[in-house]
Assembly symmetry: C2
Homo-oligomer: 355 residues x 2
């Protein structure tokens, strides 16, 4: 049985495409009372991008903070805020920012049409009602959040996405000009999320030709961006991210993403840098990928934080191991059906101890 | 201004995925009176594939003949046949076959919900009402018809597609096993439609990074299929076709496709072989592509028909030239805004005379 893969059905790509956001939203404003909610990373507060948002009438500007990765309690509070703002459901949600801002936009658009707490829906296909129309405007590239069917959230008992076809955006707007002001470290870590994702899925056991075609091209674009010089590197990185996301259709990530989840859950480390930290200790599993990753780090003068788990107690370490090993499909993809005998709790603990 | 590109929102890919067609259609059968129409190339009459169609209840099996490329009159007759079969509109149309069968499925699904003759809609965005739900099941790879927003038809006055977002399929089912029985010549010509398309769009002036990423990977897959040996070459060709189709978002084909349209319109030559015939005379425009194409022909022992226009009168020749040169965007993409001074009627005539 193959997955019948659902794809974001509308995409616009190009330098300056952000200027067409108004026209795109116009087709989704059913009447003069209809309003849009712009969910934007608060790093843009007072920045030119905020001034370029096509706000109209009763539209709501919702600045979100992503110093911590999004929590289910935060989503629930944002949804309550929108409901308090207006008795009618908004005509659309526009998420502007990196992976976390896009995850918030996805989760909010789902929860506006589904009762209860977002924590109730962490898992697979638990959502019953379609989301409010929602649009992705990434200002970082590499997470694949613009195309993925998950909104990754940290809940009271787990870090796990709301995975469903309804989670998918209705529209993606890819404007490479929006990548211009990203700080170098963030640019690198987010791009490596994509690179590592490609290495993991191409080396995995689940892959087929559909996902291979996307993953190989994504990897090639990452190499052009991080190991060569190209004037249109931002265009390439946006395409690498989109292709990386598409490649997940019939593939899965692997050991590095699993370990990164543990780092995030216990230490609150952001996903991109968490992937980089973990990948640097995975020579045995991905030798060629890790070697190339180190070339990329050297070329961009990146130094990773070290000794993160030095002061961590046994209970926290155990929780981290449990979180990582709980992601069964990732380990199956990486090491095959007998993965549990290969990646034991002891070996996982040892990897975390070195980080 | 960039095009807001609409994509087929559901795709299933895999060997044996055809066995899941029943499940996919089931979700679209609203009640026991609902019926599906299977539009299938009559080359499969009595063949095993026909026996594997998941026909239920009142479903209609509509065998279509594509010895000639689809005409608007043929579409109108098929629509009349479906209306005579049942007063209710079908719940879905499933197109099974090559580019022509898929074009018929697209056009029929549009015309069931739009009044008049299909000839009234040859052009761009003339369709007012959404189509009936329609599914593509390609049994040939290379046309890109599974993903394109056009249904190419030969009308009383022109060969021109019904181009609209509504033309797009709602679902693509890509099962590489379905390519197994294709005759070698047809396999080659249809694959070359994709290869030539990629060469034209990558060499064109309209390209951006979105279309380049798709086009380059499609070209690479074509090379693997036609110049190397791979056990999964059918999987690769299906992906090449899909990627080639996606690359059209922000690109356009060129001289070869334009000339092939003239051959089709006047001589009734099918599109794939028409592209091959024309491409072989385009060394001046696509030198590297034509050289590689000849390697592919040699490797697969293909001989093209020659002297096709030898007995053609002046009026027919003029009509062919007019058809080809009428495709302005293709020439602009190929030769830039001053194309008309470069590809004169005389030069076009001379090219056709040699074919």
């Amino acid at each position: 049985m193959y997955r019948n893969f659902k794809i974001v059905p509308n995409i616009i790509f190009g330098r300056g495409a952000f200027n067409q956001l108004d026209d795109i939203l116009q087709t989704r404003r059913p009447g003069k009372d209809a309003y849009m909610v712009f969910v934007i990373d608060d790093v843009f507060t007072g920045k030119p991008l905020e001034g370029r948002l096509p706000l109209k009438g009763r539209d709501l500007l919702l600045r979100v903070n992503v110093d911590d990765e999004p929590k289910t309690s935060y989503i629930d509070a944002l949804v309550a805020q929108i409901r308090a703002y207006h008795s009618e459901t908004p005509a659309g949600i526009v998420g502007i920012g990196g992976g976390s801002a896009m995850d918030i936009a996805k989760a909010v658009s789902l929860m506006l049409n589904n009762p209860g707490s977002s924590a109730d829906y962490q898992g697979w296909d638990l959502i019953n009602n379609p989301a409010v129309y929602h649009v992705a405007v990434p200002t970082l590239a590499g997470t694949g959040a613009e195309i993925s069917r998950t909104a990754i959230l940290t809940g009271p008992v787990k870090k796990l996405g709301i995975n469903s076809d309804y989670t998918l955006f209705d529209q993606i707007l890819l404007d490479p000009e929006l990548l211009a002001g990203v700080p170098k470290d963030q640019w690198f870590y987010t791009g490596m999320d994509c690179y590592i994702h490609d290495v993991e899925s191409l080396a995995g056991t689940f892959i087929n030709e559909f996902s291979k075609a996307y993953g190989e091209k994504s990897l090639e674009l990452c190499r052009q961006v991080f190991l060569e010089d190209h004037p249109d590197k931002d265009d390439k990185l946006m395409m690498a991210s989109y292709f990386g996301g598409m490649s997940i259709a019939y593939s899965q990530v692997g050991a590095c993403h699993a370990l990164s989840y543990g780092l995030s859950y216990v230490l609150g480390i952001h996903h991109g840098i968490g992937c980089c930290i973990a990948f640097d200790y995975l020579d045995e599993i991905y030798p060629a990928g890790v070697a190339e990753f180190r070339q990329m780090m050297a070329r961009h003068d990146i130094s990773l934080p070290r000794n993160l788990t030095r002061d961590l107690g046994q209970a926290a370490m155990e929780k981290m191991v449990t979180t990582a090993l709980g992601l069964v499909p990732l380990w199956e993809n990486c090491l095959g059906p007998d993965w549990a005998g290969i990646m034991t709790r002891e070996r996982t603990m040892e990897l975390y101890r070195r980080m």
